[in-house]
Symmetry: C2
Subunit: 390 residues, 2 copies
C-alpha cells in the first residue's frame, strides 16, 4: 500500500427532500449572499429551482443568479461570472446541476479567492493557496465533482480542455436527492454510468498489487453501478437504482477508490482532448470509446489485474488462460457500454481519422510529453490506441 | 436506501513516516499549545513518543503532556485532565494511542468546549453545541475513534460505561502509520479485528434490503479484514496486513459502511455493560462472545441477510436451505474469532452466571427499556442471549 492522504470534508445530505436542508445549512455556516449557478434552465422545468430558492428564502438568505453554464464549461463564461460575483460581493457559490455547473462554480471560486485570471490558475502551474466556498445540489450522477478535488474547464479559443486538482475545490456541502436525476435522458444517464465507472477503473487499473481493501471497495462499486445502470435506463424513476448511481458518483471520485494506490487517470487525459476539440462530444461518450481501446493496448503490463477485473466485475469464468480472461473482460466492458446506448468506436463518436494527428499532438504537446499512468504513452502510442478504437 | 447524512471531515495522513507531518499540519491549522494525551507509556518504549515530540518541536509548537489513560477510560481521569487543560489554556488535544486514548481526548474536548461536567455531557441527554479540536496518532487498529463521531467513557463509581455520538467529536486530523501497530500484542490484535468487523456487522445486519452499494462495500471490508487478521497474527510486522487492518478500522466506523441503512449497534450496547462491570474485559473480547450468541438469537428476522453474509464473507456454499447457510455463517464467525485466540463463551470471558441479572438490569434500566436495533430486545431476551453464549 502506497502512502496516501485522504480528505473528504464535503458534508453530504442524501435522500428524498434534502432540498429543505439547503437554506438552514448555508445559514448555519454563516453565509449571507449566495450566487446560484445553474445550466440551461432544466431545473426550472423540473421544479428544483423553486425548491432551492424557497429554502434560501425561508432561511432569510440573499442571492443572485447566474444560469447558462454550457456542457464542457467555458473559460469565457467563467470570466464573465467572476466579474459579476466580485461586484456583487457574494460569499458562497451554490451550484445546482451536474459536473459542468459544479466545475464552473469551482473555477469562479478559485478566481474569487486568488484575484487571478482563472485560466492562468488552471494552467499556470503554480498552485493557489486560497479558496472560496462552493456547495452543490446535484442533478446528474456522473462527474463526482460534488465531492471531488478536481475541476475541468475548456478554453474554447484554443480548443483546450484542462483540469486542476486541489483540495481547495472540494465543495463544503452537497445536497443529493436521487429523485432530481429521474429526468436525466437515457443518453446522459449512459454517459454518467461510464464516467462513474471510469473514475474507479482509472484508480483500479494501476501497476499496484497491494491495496486489496481499496481494490475490493472498487469492485463493490463497479458491480453495483453495472447492475443499477440498465435498471435506471429501463425505469428512469427507479429510486434505488438512481440512488446507487448517485452515491457511487461521489464515492468513485472523492478519493476512496484510490487510497494507497498509484494515481493514473490516463483515459481521462486522452478523452479531454477529444471533447476539447469536438464540442459536441460528451465526456462519458468519449470515455466509452477510448477505454476498451486503451485497455486492449496496455493490458499486458498487468494481465493479472485485468483478469481479476474480468472475474470480479464482469463475471468472466476464470480459465487457465489469464490473458484470455483479461481480454474477455475488456470485451465485456465494450459490450456493456454498447448495451447502455453508448458509442464504442471513434466513427460512432463522429471523429474523422484526419483529426487524429491534431488530437494526439494536443495531448502530448506535439510529441514532447508522455501521458503518465499505467504505462507512459507517447504520441505514437496514442495513434495506435485511436486505431484500435475505430 | 434510507436518507442519510455523511460527514467525514477528518484529514487522514496514512503510511510510513507520517509522524513528520504532525508538527507542520498542526501549525498550518493555527494551533500553538498542544495537550499530548497518551496511555501507559508504550509509546515511549516504541520510540513513537520521540518522533511525535520531535515533530512538534521542529514546528515550534508548545505542549503539555497528560499520559496514563487506562483501557476503558475513566471519567475521574477525564475530570482531572480537564482541570489541567483549562488552567494551561491549551488549544488542541493530540491523542497518541488507540480508542481509549482518543475517546478520553474527545471527552476532555467536550468538557473544555462546553464548561460542563463531562459525565453530564455524555449522559445528560442534551446535546452540546460547541466543540474543541482533537487529533489522533493511531497505535492500535480497532475502535475507529480516529474518524468516528463516537466516544465511550466508563464511570467507575457506578460501574457504568456509556457513549455519546455527535459530529462534534470527529478528529480534525489523523496520522496513521501501520508500523506503529507492529508491537500490538496478539490478544489486542485479535480484539481489534473483532471490533473492526463488528463496527461493520452492526451496520450490515439490519432489516434493510435496499442499500446494495453500502452492503457490498461492507462485504469488501469484512473479507479484507478476515484475510488480513491471521497474517498479522502470524507476522506482526507484515506491513500490508497491518495497513489493511488500520485503514479498515477507520472506514468501518466513520459512517461509510452504514450509508443509507438503519442504525442498530445492539451488540455494542450489550457489550458495554460487561466491560463496564468487569473492568478486565476487553471490549473486543466481549464482542467476540456476544456476537455469535446474539446472531443465533435474532437471525430468523432476516434469514436472507445472514445467508448472504455467510456466502459473501465466510465462503459458505449456498445450498437450498437458506437457514442452514445463515447458521453455518454464524458458526464460521465463531470459529474465526476462536482461531484469532479470542474467547467465544462467557465462561472464557470470566463472567459468572450469577452476574447475568445485574448486567441485564443495567442494559435495560431494570427491565424498563428495550435495546433498539435489528430486533428490540427485552431483559428476558438478553438473559436468553447470555445463555446461548455460555
Amino acid at each position: 500500500m502506497q502512502n496516501f492522504m485522504y480528505n473528504t470534508p464535503t458534508q453530504v445530505f442524501f435522500g428524498r427532500g434534502v432540498e429543505k436542508e439547503i437554506g438552514p445549512q448555508l445559514k448555519a455556516r454563516g453565509y449571507k449572499k449566495i450566487m446560484l449557478h445553474y445550466g440551461g434552465g432544466s431545473i426550472k422545468r423540473t421544479g428544483l429551482y423553486d425548491k432551492v430558492t424557497e429554502s434560501l428564502r425561508e432561511a432569510g438568505l440573499d442571492w443572485i443568479e447566474l444560469g447558462g453554464v454550457a456542457p464542457n464549461p467555458k473559460i469565457s463564461f467563467v470570466r464573465e461570472c467572476l466579474k459579476i460575483c466580485r461586484k456583487e460581493q457574494i460569499d458562497f457559490i451554490l451550484a445546482v446541476g451536474g459536473g459542468s455547473v459544479i466545475d464552473s462554480a469551482k473555477a469562479i471560486a478559485m478566481g474569487l479567492a486568488n484575484d487571478k485570471d482563472p485560466w492562468e490558475i488552471i494552467t499556470g502551474g503554480k498552485m493557489p493557496e486560497k479558496t472560496f466556498p462552493v456547495g452543490a445540489v446535484l442533478t446528474i450522477s456522473a462527474a463526482g465533482s460534488e465531492m471531488s478535488n478536481s475541476h475541468v474547464i475548456t478554453n474554447e479559443e484554443i480548443h483546450m480542455k484542462r483540469g486542476l486538482n486541489t483540495e481547495m475545490v472540494r465543495p463544503v456541502v452537497a445536497f443529493m436527492n436521487p429523485e432530481n436525476t429521474f429526468t436525466v435522458s437515457p443518453f446522459q444517464t449512459g454517459c454518467g454510468i461510464v464516467d462513474i465507472m471510469m473514475h474507479t477503473l482509472e484508480r483500479y487499473l494501476t501497476p499496484d498489487e497491494d491495496a486489496i481493501l481499496t481494490d475490493r471497495i472498487a469492485e463493490a462499486l463497479l458491480v453495483s453501478v453495472k447492475e443499477a445502470g440498465p435498471v435506471a435506463l429501463k425505469n428512469p424513476e427507479d429510486y434505488e437504482a438512481r440512488s446507487t448511481l448517485m452515491w457511487a458518483s461521489s464515492l468513485s471520485h472523492n478519493g476512496l477508490t484510490g487510497c494507497g494506490k498509484t494515481f493514473g487517470f490516463t483515459v481521462h487525459k486522452l478523452e479531454h482532448d477529444f471533447s476539447g476539440v469536438f464540442d459536441n462530444i460528451a465526456h462519458g461518450a468519449g470515455l466509452s470509446v477510448l477505454f476498451p481501446a486503451w485497455a486492449a493496448y496496455v493490458y499486458k503490463d498487468n494481465v493479472k489485474k485485468f483478469a481479476r477485473l474480468a472475474e470480479k466485475v464482469m463475471d468472466i469464468p476464470v480459465g487457465e488462460d489469464e490473458e484470455a480472461t483479461a481480454l474477455a473482460g475488456i470485451q465485456a466492458f465494450k459490450d456493456y457500454f454498447r448495451s447502455l446506448g453508448m458509442p464504442v468506436t471513434l466513427g460512432e463518436l463522429g471523429v474523422p481519422a484526419d483529426a487524429y494527428e491534431q488530437i494526439a499532438n494536443l495531448t502530448t504537446a506535439n510529441d514532447t510529453k508522455k501521458v503518465p499512468g499505467f504505462r507512459e504513452l507517447t504520441k505514437a502510442d496514442l495513434l495506435a490506441i485511436y486505431k484500435l478504437a475505430e
